[in-house]
Symmetry: C2
Subunit: 293 residues, 2 copies
């Protein structure tokens, strides 16, 4: 089977549907990839989508989208709740099938070089692709945001050493597959969600690979979780930990939601862990046996 | 996507590898189906395998296997622990994708007619395909086994009204997908497994669609479960029920095992149920998005 990667570019436009659709359509110009899961948010004034396919085709597709975003978005007029430093804000490559992290890092470098040279936008490499420790964490690269870029501009990995007049800068990198998992508590008390989020997030000494925030959504407290490495902490493990912590505060879990895509391997791992089915493997799934040999 | 069914024929030979392989090879003569998961057992003196493909191709494949089994197995010489009435003992058709139970019943009738007419073996239709209430349950059809067939022969659905001189009779039918799920308890006390099995099996007032027995396997008590309808009782629900019952007897679950194949829909349902992720659907599984539209 061929190599498959995923790319989830984020752009600083979440209000003007014409612009959002133009960027999405640009990615679709490359016919050999699948472009889907377009999401946009007015408050964040930001959109993102997923590109899946063989590595070089995904690179070509996301480059088309970046070119269009560079033409249509003016960061000098951009306002939104979400931190951002550029029209194309962040572009992560993610190994999905038969591809190593190293190959995704090389792809990030290739895209970075192309964006720097052809579009004259400074590019910072982050996470697995980072060349400097201080650029590893996306939040650190974005500190000061677009407005702060001009004054704190350190040497980017590719492109000019000054921000692009309308597109700012771009953060490109490689990371593991990220599972978005929300847990809704049976209480309107957002403080409880915030306490639980703080207890489980890695940064505060919680579970490895876990990022978490507490929100109020549709009148209920929600623990919104990003699992950056499901091999370390999977959704089922996060669920049980939240359940345990909520239980101590006499709160029940009302529902949960896997947001967006999830790799089959994470489902298989959850069955192995939660039901102690150590020998279970993806090859036992009937539908899979219809296509592979 | 095309219609897909599964067929799991059982034959009365579990010792002579030459015969087992000949039957398996006969099924493989039809190149458009997948034939796999060959299992055989000396004590039961019985083998079975799985055929997956489009309905009429699966029918052609299993008919080849039945023809070969009829030639090579002499029931007058057969001994084994497992109940059986024929060389080809039982042939269930199972809907997998885009196929209704009704279509599988019609397929069972088609195969039954063909086996009766072309091989001169009496055929009884069972379970969803049964034409008589007393033939619905496989255990009832097999009562008295091969040896008792001659004396209690009632009118079969197809074929002659007397048993085939060497092949006996065949039971053909249609049923839902069956998940085999074993739960190993952290105790050597088989009586505990038997108590739990009795408490969860439908026949004794337990969970719908659940068949269960208690065994001792590798020195540990095992609850061996067949889930005849995972939409009613899925493996995760059976796991939690066994866990609860074991807990009352101060016994822990050591491990579990999904034996053989499982439909993706059962995995998806387990995530929905166990983690209250009501909105989760198979379309969110990344690998699936690579192939369908």
């Amino acid at each position: 089977m061929q190599k498959i990667i995923e790319c989830v570019p984020n752009f600083s436009e979440g209000r003007n549907l014409k612009v959002i659709r133009a960027i999405f359509a640009a990615a679709k110009k490359v016919k050999t990839v699948r472009v889907f899961e377009l999401e946009y948010n007015r408050d964040h004034n930001r959109c993102l989508f997923t590109i899946v396919g063989v590595p070089l085709d995904v690179l070509a597709s996301v480059f088309e989208a970046i070119k269009t975003a560079t033409k249509l978005i003016d960061m000098n007029k951009h306002q939104g709740e979400h931190p951002r430093i550029g029209a194309t804000d962040v572009v992560p490559f993610v190994p999905v099938f038969g591809v190593s992290m190293k190959e995704c890092v090389e792809l990030a470098e290739k895209l970075g070089k192309k964006v720097g040279e052809e579009l004259s936008i400074p590019v910072f490499l982050y996470e697995e692709a980072a060349t400097k420790q201080e650029n590893r964490n996306l939040a650190d690269v974005r500190k000061g945001e677009y407005e702060g870029l001009k004054v704190r501009m350190n040497k980017p990995d590719f492109g000019p050493s000054k921000t692009h007049p309308t597109a700012g800068a771009v953060v490109v990198g490689a990371r593991k597959f990220l599972i978005a998992f929300n847990i809704n508590l049976d209480t309107p008390d957002v403080e409880i969600a915030k306490k639980i989020a703080s207890a489980i997030r890695e940064r505060d000494g919680g579970l490895p690979g876990v990022k978490a925030l507490g929100f109020k959504v549709d009148g209920l407290a929600q623990v919104s979780i990003n699992l950056a490495d499901f091999e370390k902490t999977n959704f089922d493990e996060a669920f049980r930990e939240v359940e345990k912590l909520a239980d101590k505060m006499n709160v029940k879990i009302k529902s949960s939601e896997i947001y967006g895509m999830i790799p089959l391997a994470a489902l298989v791992k959850s069955v192995k862990t939660t039901f102690k089915a150590d020998t279970f493997k993806a090859g036992q799934i009937l539908e899979g046996r219809l296509s592979d040999d």
